[in-house]
């Protein structure tokens, strides 16, 4: 097996691990609105290492999963994650460096942007929008970015590839 292929398999293993963590570990962590969003980490890490089209498709699939599990406004999650996946891939290819901290900050920004879109499309009222965007989303962005940083540091060599190369 070529080294490139091995790296891809390794990245996929981490993605699968994140999916398992999302559904098995996160419910045990307490408050769902503050605990890390492992699916979003998987999406961002994948999108930042692939092309914008693949990022958009991955975002759409992640959004579809979230819409199926929380159908408050079906399609809102798919739309938000598609945009996040696309812009993560596009932004990474244009101006982001291979720095773990920058990557983690990008994950936090992606989560906040995702919440903004979901809340606006779901027709949230002003006070709730403000509370979510100024309290819960930044807190969740912090925990998610922290965990993303941990993953990037732990699997530094595995994530030093471009999946679309």
């Amino acid at each position: 097996m070529s080294p490139q292929r091995v790296s891809r398999v390794q990245v996929l293993v981490v993605m699968l691990g994140l999916i398992v963590l999302q559904f098995y570990l996160r419910p045990r962590l307490g408050n769902a609105r503050v605990s890390p969003d492992f699916l979003l980490i998987a999406l961002m890490l994948f999108a930042m290492r692939s092309g914008p089209g693949a990022g958009a498709v991955a975002g759409f699939l992640v959004g579809l999963i979230e819409d199926a599990l929380t159908p408050a406004r079906f399609g809102a999650g798919a739309l938000a994650h598609t945009l996040v996946g696309y812009f993560a891939a596009w932004g990474r290819s244009v101006f982001f460096a291979d720095n773990a901290l920058v990557n983690a900050a990008f994950v936090a920004a992606g989560l906040w942007f995702r919440d903004l879109i979901v809340l606006v499309i779901s027709g949230s009222e002003h006070p709730q929008l403000l509370t979510e965007l100024t309290i819960y989303s930044p807190l969740q962005a912090l925990t998610t970015a922290g965990f993303a940083l941990l993953i990037l540091i732990t699997f530094r060599s595995w994530f030093s590839i471009r999946l679309d190369a």
Binding site: I19, V20, Q22, F23, Y24, L25, R26, P27, R28, N31, A32, R33, S35, P36, D37, L39, L40, G51, P52, G53, A54, A56, V57, G59, F60, G63, L64, I65, E66, D67, A68, L69, T70, P71, A72, R73, F74, G75, A76, G77, A78, L79, T82, L83, Y86, D115, V118, L119, I121, S122, G123, S124, E125, P127, Q128, T131, E132, Y136, S137, Q140
Partner: protein, 335 residues
């Protein structure tokens, strides 16, 4: 050559992006029945292993919490048992009083709430019980504190409930004194409005005091009568002298609920007695203590009576060394 390849690559990316956006927008504007059907199908097929995994995790977490609570209760009861047996018994009685499931006179299905890390989590809740457990659309969902919401859609192993925080949620309600009837809806006013409800449509002449408990009225045929919805915390607004809108503090919080009960076949029941208020609980506690004291004094009296009878038998039985019960005539009078 490479520029042509890059352009094709970019076009493909753009096409995929536009396709995903288009599908998302189609999902957004599709009829609710389609989207709920699609979500149900996804949960039943592709997402079934993930839902199963999360259900096990939630069960594990709640079981651990319940185990800790029971252990703590057992430890404190054991501690009290060393010194105060009557308090331990009272603790047990109160614990039984607080068990909502035993108080409910109707059928119910218990379910874990599978919370999602979404900004809209709390408006709709994914529950770990479905059609196989007897859940059907429009079944009310309650927590021990009060109303959580209503089941929207059901798949064999899971269901989706609309909580009271959903913008489209409505429940017909009345005040516990019965002097005001209205419709409760999520409030969009005030700070942190996600956590508040409002009681609308109360006639201007009917004033509701602060702290009044608001219960579901049973009108509409979805929610049974008597489920606590919230407590009045103030007046939100007055509509030109003909209607008052009151602010309510919700009885139960869907965002933090980990375990709920889904009521099945409840339409004709009055559930008010299943949700006693704090004052009612206090009254029940005092009543329970009074009954225990009465029983204890009766038992004491019975014990005293038994002892007196035993003593009397001992005194009057010759075989036991006592004097005979029949009185003998005095010797002087016989002579």
């Amino acid at each position: 050559m490479s520029s042509i390849s890059d352009r094709r690559y970019t076009r493909r990316d753009t096409a995929l992006f536009v396709l995903c956006l288009g599908l998302s927008i189609v999902g957004l504007f599709s009829p609710l029945s389609w989207t709920y059907g699609l979500a149900d199908t996804l949960r039943r097929t592709a997402l079934a292993p993930l839902v199963w995994l999360q259900t096990r995790a939630e069960e594990g977490r709640t079981s651990r919490m319940r185990f800790r609570r029971v252990t703590a209760q057992r430890d404190s009861a054991a501690y009290l048992a060393q010194f105060l047996p009557s308090l331990r018994a009272e603790n047990e009685r109160l614990r039984q009083l607080l068990k909502l499931s035993r108080r409910l006179s109707t059928g119910y299905v218990s379910a874990e709430v599978l919370h999602q890390p979404h900004a809209t989590d709390g408006r709709t809740l994914l529950l770990s019980a479905g059609a196989r457990q007897g859940v059907a659309p429009f079944n009310p969902v309650v927590a021990p504190e009060g109303l959580i919401g209503v089941v929207l859609s059901v798949s064999p192993q899971s269901s989706v409930a609309m909580s009271w925080a959903h913008p489209e949620f409505r429940v017909s309600a009345f005040t516990v004194g019965g002097n005001a009837l209205g419709v409760v809806a999520p409030s969009a006013e005030g700070r942190n409005a996600e956590g508040l409800l409002e009681l609308r449509g109360v006639p201007y002449r009917d004033s509701v005091p602060l702290g009044t408990l608001v219960l579901s009225s049973g009108l509409g045929g979805v929610f049974p009568k008597g489920i606590p919805v919230g407590t009045v915390t103030g007046t939100l607004r007055e509509e030109a002298g003909w209607e008052r809108v009151y602010r309510l503090r919700p009885a139960a919080n869907p965002g933090s609920a980990a375990h709920v009960l889904i009521l099945v076949s409840t339409r004709s029941f009055d559930l008010a007695s299943a949700f006693p208020s704090d004052s009612q609980l206090e009254a029940m506690r005092l009543d329970s203590i009074a009954r225990a004291e009465r029983a204890e004094s009766l038992a004491q009296a019975a014990r005293a009576a038994r002892a007196a009878r035993r003593d009397s038998i001992q005194r009057t039985s010759p075989m036991l060394g006592g004097a005979p019960a029949v009185a003998t005539p005095p010797r002087d009078s016989a002579q």
